[in-house]
């Protein structure tokens, strides 16, 4: 991965391709690389849908190797949803295929002079770009089917947008195909699909035929470390048993039990219908209908937290909806029917929108009185409106904050314009610290990964004192930024947290790959570097500490059943990045 592919969509005479050595970005991958390029090359005050913004697609540092779990791809730009820097990442096959083609990143630049829509085909022989207006407004599943017809077995992976991306909606995602070439994995957050739409690119088809696995500097050490890493993942109760058996939706019952499950647009922490849409029920339903309760999203995944959801007649409906999706379209909208939620998941994937943002947008619309909470048919119709691009659909497609502005809703759960995920920050206040201060907007994956007791960033933290959550949020954000740069799935965090030998195995994998010792300090330094670039970009874009806040009602509106409010002070939030 020593080269970067730059495509100037606005070049005179049509899109121009330029391949260049990675140069000053050498050694970076995933989020570190997207952030470095956006931070350095994109004017922070530019319009996100304008010619100066760039869309950077970067596989992780370890993607394309035999390292387990290394199939995450990062997509970065200035976000049309938040107005700040954005890195949104996805599973699926594109990270592995793009990395094997030797590209550290694809950078889409400029704006096309016409309204033509382009497809890009990349294989070992080069890059072909062609206008294909027959693809206009095709949903993702139809689009990929057409690419398979056209490129046959050479269609190894696709990166695409649906109609929402073409319409430049702020909820628009970028789809990545899975092992079965289903466009079911998405870089969902922040409206990255709108930026791809603005560039006039509908789909990038990747073909790594004739390319081998990427080789580490020290193959023997790499192989040994990877073996230990896989053993660690397989032996841990979460990564070896819980996630494969029930998927991430196993959290529904747990969050509901502690009163931290936001329901009816963040009005209460428990949902009477939780058991009907739990991961346990979902897995049983999938198995009974001939689907799969465990399935990997890319080759090399050993956790296999996903699945395949069939309808009542036993036909494929969608991939297993994740916890965040089940919550966003389920409990948060008062919907307790798994088939309805699965249909919404499929429609989101097909039209190409972020399930978290869309679920929140529907919940805010219900709060505005456009439909009753619990009305699944209305929710499905709302998403169809988005896909068709009606006036209402455009408002919904703008995200939760857009709906709130259009209909005068005061209670809108967003930070920096981005809707909150499935954990109420009043019940779990530490995640509220991360929601408030992450450069990405409200993001549950921003503070994840390796806990402080492993990295000890900033020294020991007293886990019993409330002020400890400030330091922990900081440390987790640093660790997450680093993990996002490797291409590793964040679900490796559990085994790393509990098993020091598994964390060492990961460090050894990276070390063997680069041919030098890699330590926990190296992880910390990388994470800090990424966060510093992101915060610097946001500052230049006009963000101040006033943007690092939760909406006011989280401080004043008690959240049942525990009737707690968000108690972290502004002064404490301002300390998160004091390092």
């Amino acid at each position: 991965m020593e080269k970067i592919l730059r495509i100037d969509m606005g070049a005179e005479g049509g899109p121009k391709v330029k391949e260049e050595r990675i140069g000053e970005y050498s050694g970076l991958g995933g989020r570190a690389l997207t952030t470095a390029i956006v931070s350095k090359e994109v004017p922070a005050t530019c319009h996100p849908l304008g010619s100066e913004n760039k869309l950077v697609i970067a596989p992780g540092m370890l993607s394309g190797t035999t390292a387990a779990m290394s199939g995450r791809i990062s997509i970065g730009c200035k976000s049309p949803l938040t107005g700040g820097i954005k890195e949104s990442n996805s599973g699926g096959q594109p990270a592995q295929v793009l990395a094997r083609l030797g590209y550290a990143a694809i950078v889409l630049e400029g704006l096309p002079a016409t309204d033509d829509l382009y497809k890009i085909f990349i294989n070992k022989d080069g890059v072909q770009i062609s206008a294909d207006n027959s693809l206009k407004m095709l949903p993702n599943y139809d689009l990929v089917a057409k690419m398979k017809e056209e490129y046959g077995d050479n269609t190894k992976a696709c990166i695409s947008i649906g109609p929402a991306g073409e319409m430049k909606m702020c909820t628009a995602s970028i789809a990545c195909t899975d092992m079965e070439l289903r466009p079911a994995r998405h870089a969902g957050r922040g409206g990255v699909g709108a930026v791809m739409g603005a560039k006039g690119v509908k789909v990038i088809v990747l073909d790594d035929t004739g390319m081998g696995m990427r080789s580490p500097k020290d193959p023997e050490k790499f192989k040994d470390a990877n073996k230990r890493f896989v053993e660690g993942l397989s032996s841990h109760p979460v990564t070896g048993e819980g996630l494969p058996a029930f998927g991430s939706n196993v959290l529904t019952n747990i969050l509901n039990e502690v009163g931290g499950y936001p329901t009816y647009n963040f009005k209460q922490g428990t949902f009477a219908g939780a058991a009907k849409i739990s991961g346990e029920t979902q897995a049983e339903t999938e198995t009974a209908r001939g689907g799969l309760a465990t399935h990997g999203c890319h080759r090399g995944c050993v956790i296999r937290c996903s699945g395949v959801y069939h309808d009542k007649d036993g036909h494929f409906l969608t991939k297993q909806p994740e916890y965040e999706t089940v919550w966003a379209h389920g409990g948060n909208c008062g919907i307790d029917d798994l088939d309805t939620i699965a249909m919404l998941d499929f429609l989101d994937d097909n039209y190409g929108v972020d399930t978290i943002e869309m679920g929140n947008a529907v919940a805010v619309a219900m709060d505005a009185g456009l439909a009753e909470f619990g009305d699944g048919e209305a929710a499905i119709n709302f998403v169809h409106e988005v896909g068709k691009g009606t006036h209402l659909g455009r408002i919904l497609g703008g995200g939760a904050a857009s709906v709130a502005k259009a209909y005068g809703v005061v209670r809108v759960p967003v930070v920096k314009g981005q809707a909150m995920p499935a954990y109420d920050p009043r019940a779990v206040q530490g995640i509220g610290v991360t929601y408030a201060t992450s450069p990405m907007g409200a993001d549950h994956t921003a503070g994840y990964a390796v806990a402080q007791n492993v990295l000890k960033v900033g020294g020991d933290v007293d886990s019993l004192k409330p002020e400890g959550q400030i330091e922990l949020s900081r440390n987790l954000q640093i660790a997450t930024a680093a993990i996002d740069s490797t291409g590793m799935c964040l679900f490796i965090a559990f085994a790393i947290l509990d098993q020091p030998e598994t964390f060492q195995a990961l460090l050894d994998i990276i070390g063997a790959y680069v041919g030098a010792d890699f330590t926990a300090d190296g992880v910390t330094d990388l994470g800090k570097k990424v966060l510093k670039m992101e915060r610097d970009f946001n500052a230049r874009a006009g963000f101040t500490k006033a943007h690092d806040r939760l909406p006011g009602y989280f401080k004043t509106e008690p959240f049942p059943p525990h009737n707690v409010t968000f108690g972290v002070t502004d002064e404490e939030l301002d300390q998160v990045f004091d390092w």
Binding site: E241, V250, N253, G259, A275, S278, C305, Q429
Partner: protein, 210 residues
């Protein structure tokens, strides 16, 4: 539901037992995520309840029970947290996600410090009581059968709804169904119209050799 409120309901509960093979027993484990009532000796610690009333080993508790929630609050110290009469106790075997990690005992517990269970030590009663127990995810299978063999008290409408949705092959494999001491046919449940008058049903499984 405490003893005072609940003993009458327990005594008036319909009894129902199903004789099932090991394979079909598994079809019932999902029911346990809804929660059920059991008679217990209350006023004890959670640890004492696990070891001496459920018969779990200390190693099992340490290794397999990742999440413990008492009355909707994460209980970190099972040596001191007291199970009161009428308590709700939920146990989970896997806790993914950042919040999953935070809800376990451990360094991220501070993330949810405002909802953490804190024992006040002001409960003196020790004796017979009723608690609501809920088993989630991996623990449904691991702990469920022993409890079902002893018999659990389920909300009648929840149980009726669950049984009414079981597939025909489940009932074909069900050798004997006994309700209030009399043998009944599977059709009663398959038709979906079964709902006993009592609010609770004492529900039990009798293992059958396949």
């Amino acid at each position: 539901m405490s003893t005072a409120q609940g003993l009458e309901q327990l005594q008036g509960a319909t009894t129902l037992s199903l004789e099932l093979t090991a394979e079909k027993q598994e079809s019932l484990f999902l029911l346990l995520q809804n929660g059920f009532f059991i008679e217990a000796f209350v006023g004890c610690t959670i640890k004492d309840f696990f070891l001496n009333q459920l018969g779990l080993s200390p190693d099992y508790v340490e290794a397999r029970i990742q999440g413990i929630f008492l009355d909707g609050k994460p209980a970190d110290d099972i040596d001191t947290a007291i199970i009161r009469d009428g308590a709700h106790l939920t146990v989970s075997g896997t806790m993914p996600g950042l919040v999953g990690i935070a809800l376990r005992r451990g360094p991220l517990a501070v993330f949810r410090h405002t909802i953490t269970h804190r024992e006040t030590g002001d409960y003196d009663y020790k004796g017979k009581g009723i608690i609501k127990l809920k088993l989630l995810n991996l623990l449904m299978k691991e702990m469920g059968l022993e409890l079902l063999k002893k018999g659990i008290y389920m909300n009648s409408s929840v149980l009726a709804d669950y049984l009414g949705n079981l597939p025909a092959d489940f009932w074909q494999e069900c050798k004997t169904i006994t309700m209030d001491g009399r043998e009944v046919s599977a059709g009663l449940f398959q038709e979906g119209g079964w709902l006993p008058e009592s609010k609770l049903v004492k529900f039990a499984v009798v293992p059958k050799n396949s």
